[in-house]
């Protein structure tokens, strides 16, 4: 992400071996994990519904905030 241009929507890259639980724990350490996972998944339906065997990859974008209203 650019240091000088604010992203339109916050996001992170997954780390090697990440799953929803690990991302939730890393991005929202203060929140209950199940609740954080539910939010993350609702903001990233394109990853949730990606057909197997194509799982999450290190080059994917994982949104960590909702879309603009």
């Amino acid at each position: 992400m650019s240091a000088s241009i604010t992203p339109q929507r916050p996001w992170v890259y997954p780390c090697e071996g990440d799953d929803w639980q690990r991302i939730a724990a890393r991005v929202f350490p203060e929140r209950p994990v199940e609740e954080a996972i539910a939010d993350l998944q609702s903001w990233n339906l394109y990853l949730v519904f990606r057909p197997a065997p194509a799982g999450m990859t290190p080059s994917d974008i994982v949104f960590t905030g909702p879309p603009a209203a």
Binding site: S2, Q8, E16, Y46, P53, T57, P58, D60, I61
Partner: protein, 570 residues
């Protein structure tokens, strides 16, 4: 004495400046003189009759990587005025590829680019491994200029083997990929291509998608050393994802001083806000010093299909998708099973549209029929035939498919990127480059040729969105500048004499037709150009409407390998 003089031409020099009546002279494959008047004589003198003389068109997004090894003309690009094609897009190239990876690379290429396996296998010789060997395999048989990107997926595969499909690279592996990219650039690669989208023949992400951000950053650093370009396929259907990708590209461009081009910039009725939002983001990044080039195709998307191969038209209709994924016998049985048939008809009318497309089954066209007594249906819509027969259009499609043992070919026409009112503005935006044509790919699905003629017929003549000079600039000078093709793209003394002479009142892409000209007697869809009168490649007549494609002279053809990348002065 010049080799060639073209007189009495309306010269559009590719810079975007006003056209003027004049002449152009060629010597030894290069433009020797250009102006309102040229004195002297030439071995060949052509009277242009007031037609437009422009630089040869450049097609920046093609997949002739396999075809170019058996067809050095990249047909039918030349007849559409294209004198330079840029291959190797979307992370996929035919080199560098080790012998043990040929089967995998072939399968991926055939899957993503929809090249028939029989044609691919009959045409490919695979007598190379390195990038340099690949270029040497067709260098002496070119009738068109060819530039080739190095594919990120191939770099990974070469360095990491099967692990390229499974994990991120180690630091040592990234360093080896950097060296391999340098080797490709030294051999003549134009830049690097990558993808955040594509999947392989086993529905797994292509290898480059397993790259951690640091890997792509390291490869872009090498591009910076050479002043080379990167092409990428982003999630082009989702505004939020695309804008985030544009930010990533902006950062890479600024950090390494490189140009990045993404394709496609694609309009659809599902997300009409996407293109304006993406362009706003590109403008912002440009204002901060990034060089980001969105590529937009000129034509709407058509999808042609038979039921023996899964096609994305059905991807959001679960019963259709499940049925088509089965064996042919099972699909035929499902199409005749009353319960499943009812579900299929329901889903045809009541389901979410696939990504970036708007699909209406009754509008499907019967494209090709297998049985002679059905051939009268070809070219007609299901809706039209069903009305005549008093039946449901979807039932009709199923009946026809069953009767013809799934060999009937249907077309979903203009299912995306089809709103002219929304496209004209962005297409004429100075930041947007014409591209994403996909020449050489999807050959059995739809014709990927003639976007050049369509730019003039649709956007210059019909919509009036671009002037003649702007359209020529978008097919020549703009692309040459963006992609670092310093020797081409404009009509100036000293530059390569790639020329196209065309009638601005009639140039067009021609109708889509099926032609059996692939190796192994395979067919493909293509278009025969109209209004293109002569095409010169490096000063030699390569195509004329009167005589067709020029034969090789003296055992040689005059196309060249084009490379723009050179090590930057440290």
């Amino acid at each position: 004495m010049y080799d060639l003089i073209i007189r009495n031409a309306r010269i559009c020099d590719g810079s975007g400046t006003a056209a003027y009546r004049g002449a152009l002279a060629v010597s030894e494959g290069r433009i020797a003189a250009i102006g309102t008047r040229i004195d002297g004589d030439a071995r060949t003198v052509v009277d242009a009759g007031g037609k437009v003389l422009a630089p040869g068109f450049i097609d920046p997004h093609t997949h002739f990587d396999a075809q170019i090894t058996w067809d050095g003309l990249a047909t039918p690009s030349l007849e559409h005025g294209v004198t330079t094609v840029i291959n190797g897009n979307c992370s996929l190239t035919m080199a560098p590829v080790r012998a043990e990876h040929r089967a995998f690379v072939g399968a991926v290429f055939r899957q993503i680019e929809e090249m028939p396996a029989a044609a691919f296998d009959a045409g490919m010789r695979w007598n190379w491994e390195t990038f340099e060997e690949y270029l040497a395999a067709f260098r002496d048989n070119l009738g068109i200029n060819v530039a080739t990107l190095a594919g990120h997926s191939m770099l990974r595969l070469w360095v990491m083997g099967e692990a390229a499909r499974e994990r991120s690279a180690t630091g040592e592996e990234v360093a080896r990929m950097q060296d391999l990219l340098r080797e490709c650039l030294q051999a003549g690669a134009l830049g690097l291509s990558t993808s955040w989208v594509d999947i392989d023949h086993e529905h797994r992400p292509v290898p480059c998608r397993l790259a951690a951000p640091e890997e792509l950053d390291a490869l872009c650093a090498v591009l910076g050393e050479y002043g080379a370009i990167m092409q990428v396929v982003p999630e082009f259907w989702d505004p939020d994802l695309l804008c985030a990708r544009i930010d990533i590209l902006g950062e890479l461009s600024r950090r390494h001083g490189i140009t990045v081009s993404f394709s496609p910039l694609f309009d659809s009725n599902a997300t009409p806000e996407l293109v304006p939002r993406a362009l706003e983001r590109v403008r912002l990044q440009t204002a901060y010093g990034a060089r980001i080039v969105p590529q937009m195709q000129t034509r709407p998307i058509d999808v042609t299909f038979e039921f023996d191969v899964p096609t994305s038209v059905f991807s959001t209709r679960p019963t259709w998708w499940a049925t088509i994924l089965k064996s042919a016998d099972e699909t035929l049985a499902d199409f005749q099973n009353p319960a499943i048939r009812k579900q299929l008809v329901d889903e045809a009318y009541n389901a979410m549209h696939p990504i970036a497309m708007e699909v209406h089954f009754p509008d499907f066209i019967v494209r090709r029929c297998h049985l002679p007594h059905n051939r009268a249906l070809e070219g007609r819509s299901l809706k039209d035939i069903a009305a005549e027969r008093g039946c449901d259009p979807v039932e009709l499609m199923l009946d026809l498919a069953v009767e013809e043992n799934l060999q009937t070919c249907f077309s979903a026409v203009a299912v995306g990127h089809n709103n002219l009112a929304r496209i004209t503005g962005p297409l004429s935006d100075p930041l947007v480059q014409v591209g994403s044509g996909d020449g050489g790919a999807h050959v059995t699905r739809f014709a990927t040729y003639g976007d050049t003629g369509y730019l003039f017929s649709c956007f210059v003549r019909e919509a009036g969105a671009l002037s003649l000079e702007q359209a020529v600039y978008k097919l020549t000078g703009q692309i040459a500048r963006n992609w670092g093709l310093a020797d081409r793209g404009e009509l100036r003394p000293g530059l390569a004499a790639d020329l196209v002479l065309f009638d601005p009142d009639t140039i067009d892409r021609g109708p889509e037709i099926a032609v059996e000209d692939l190796p192994g007697a395979g067919y493909r869809y293509l278009r025969r150009a109209s209004g293109v009168e002569q095409v010169y490649v490096n000063g030699q007549l390569a195509y004329s409407a009167e005589a067709g494609y020029a034969d090789a002279r003296d055992g040689k053809r005059y196309g060249k390998i084009v490379s723009g990348a050179r090590p930057s002065a440290a």
